[in-house]
Symmetry: C2
Subunit: 362 residues, 2 copies
């Protein structure tokens, strides 16, 4: 078997090896079914079981109350940028958006097609190096909802606690840190995430919606764009990504087997701290982009003294089996994405590599 | 390894065994990449290669001219029911729809949210047992487009030739017979298909669009609902279903290796004829739903003298390893879906089973 390398990609991203092995073993024939998971009907008994188990395990992981419903959709967070305002903005036709990066801005762009957007706070003038402070956030108590992005892959920032919005429903794009740490879902109206970081392969969008909000979906909405359609049909109005839901189910099981969200959270903090400590102790050679109080546990972003050194480091790292470290052009430099499935050993090896590189090139 | 059974499911459906085996072998580590296909970035060099090869092989299979562009989207045919009118109906705001079954009706429902729908023909009063005759189709020469469904999975009917629409763009939902037979794409403005029958797993929507039609997409459209977005970004505006596109690529290669569309078409006709012959020679014991001149090569639908006998047959067939034969409730009885990957041997075995059942139960 070919050797696997360290995959620091921002997403699609590394998945648990145990899950990949199980999926591989069963890909040709799903045990007891006589056909592949790629071939079974989404109306079959076997898929019902897979779907129900995935939902059940996710409910356990999120400690979800019956006030909420889980949905598996398609189109990624990018389609949610439209579905959220189309479904939830009327009849007030105004909503608050907190802008902390590229993805928040894209969400704003679509929301403006539906109604009035109030930018409740933004850190764009500081190249999104930090999350706004509570006192900087100007919320409209009459807004249809408040939208924020919990983790910003490009800039490497993450909300340490969600904004307090009182009775106004809180909507979160949690694509890049979902299931990486404990959250109190009861504080949220709706959470959405492209699955392709902590949850599964690309091509599935995960949504948690508070059931009372489903009533907001108007009858004039196109059928596939209505949360009501998908909620009433338990994500099976049309053919879902059967394989994607299957993999999400395997990952949920893997998480439960490995201590659930608490264990992931502890490990994620340990991994991130290892890397941040390396940056902080480099005497400014490695300079983190994010302010310390806004640092992400999922995506660590930093610069070197020059672009030439950054190129050299990336090139040598790639040769040494550390893949996907090039930062997004909006920040430059380097980015290490270390999602749930990324092994601590990989971070330790990267830290050793970085210390070594600094010694040779400082 | 567990035994595989005969999968007559209408979709998701049977896929080529060679493709399943290749995907299985490479699932843990994609050769030369060091990570799984489920983990690679959609911006990676490897995915570029996979994507380019899939497009290239599909262009060959469709004998596509440079006037057309291929897109890999999400949301299934059901989202296309909305995207087609949202993008292509303005500024005329009227279109012709030919209604030949449940899926056509769903397309009409969404189109009516956008503009005026002229039902150019329908065979609903005959429970969709046939395709309309050319002289029955009343087209508006000023329509924005004409929409039809080339194959009707539920009723087992299929257009033998597409309708002639002159200069009005022809739009086709080809979800259930795409790549099963040769078509002249130059007669079409846009063809769409959920991949989960002849093309791949569920979760990918395949679109062929004539490039001049892309200009119709208005700037006020939500970004993810605009063909222009996806065309300008070569299907990579957001993260696509990487695994789905990979499997579609493997299937395209498998088709080319096995004689392309012509060979598939010949084989599909042979398979369907075997089964229709069995029905026709049963002296009315097996009664086909579709009129002879409207019969589908993909989905064969038939009834037995009583519902009790139908239940008995399905139960015995399932035990004998023929899965998924229960007909849709709109028609009742039985349905055998025999897409490209379905082996001729499986049809021969089913015919033998049907003849045997008739002998014992007539």
């Amino acid at each position: 078997m070919e050797k696997r390398i360290y995959n620091f990609s921002a997403g699609p991203a590394i998945l648990p090896e145990d899950v990949l092995k199980e999926a591989q073993e069963d890909l040709f024939v799903l045990p007891g079914v006589g056909m592949s998971i790629l071939e079974i009907s989404h109306r079959s008994k076997k898929f019902d079981e897979i779907h129900a188990a995935a939902k059940n395990d996710l409910k356990t992981l999120f400690n979800l109350s019956d006030d909420y419903q889980l949905l598996f959709l398609q189109g990624g967070a990018s389609l949610q940028f439209s579905m959220v305002p189309l479904n939830l903005m009327p009849p007030k036709n105004k909503a608050d958006y907190i802008v902390t990066g590229t993805w928040s801005k894209k969400a704003v762009k679509e929301a403006k097609r539906v109604g009035a957007v109030n930018i409740a706070a933004t850190t764009e003038s500081e190249n999104f190096k930090r999350i706004p402070k509570p006192e900087e956030i100007k919320l409209d108590p009459d807004a249809a909802y408040v939208h924020f992005t919990s983790n910003n892959t490009i800039f490497g920032t993450e909300w340490q606690n969600e904004p307090e919005t009182g009775n106004v429903p809180l909507i979160c794009d949690a694509s890049s840190d979902i299931l990486s740490r404990k959250i109190n879902v009861n504080k949220y109206g709706l959470i959405y995430a492209g699955a392709q970081k902590n949850m599964g392969p690309s091509g599935v969008t995960f949504v948690i919606i508070r059931k009372d909000l489903i009533a907001r979906s108007g009858d004039s909405l196109h059928t596939m764009l209505s949360y009501k359609t998908h909620a009433e049909n338990d994500s099976l109005y049309n053919t879902p990504s059967v394989f994607g839901i299957y993999i999400i189910g395997l990952i949920a099981k893997w998480m439960l087997k490995n201590g659930g969200v608490d264990a992931m959270s502890k490990l994620n903090t340990e991994k991130a701290q290892l890397l941040y400590k390396c940056l902080d102790e480099s005497a400014g050679y490695y300079k983190g982009h994010a302010d310390k109080d806004s640092r992400s546990n999922m995506n660590i972003t930093w610069r070197l003294p020059s672009e030439d050194l950054e190129k050299k480091l990336i090139s040598e790292a790639t040769k040494a089996g550390f893949d996907g470290l090039k930062g997004h052009r909006s920040v430059g430099g380097l980015r290490a994405s270390i999602y749930n499935a990324f092994p601590k050993k990989g971070v330790e090896d990267l830290v050793e590599f970085l210390n070594d590189f600094k010694t040779k090139n400082a």
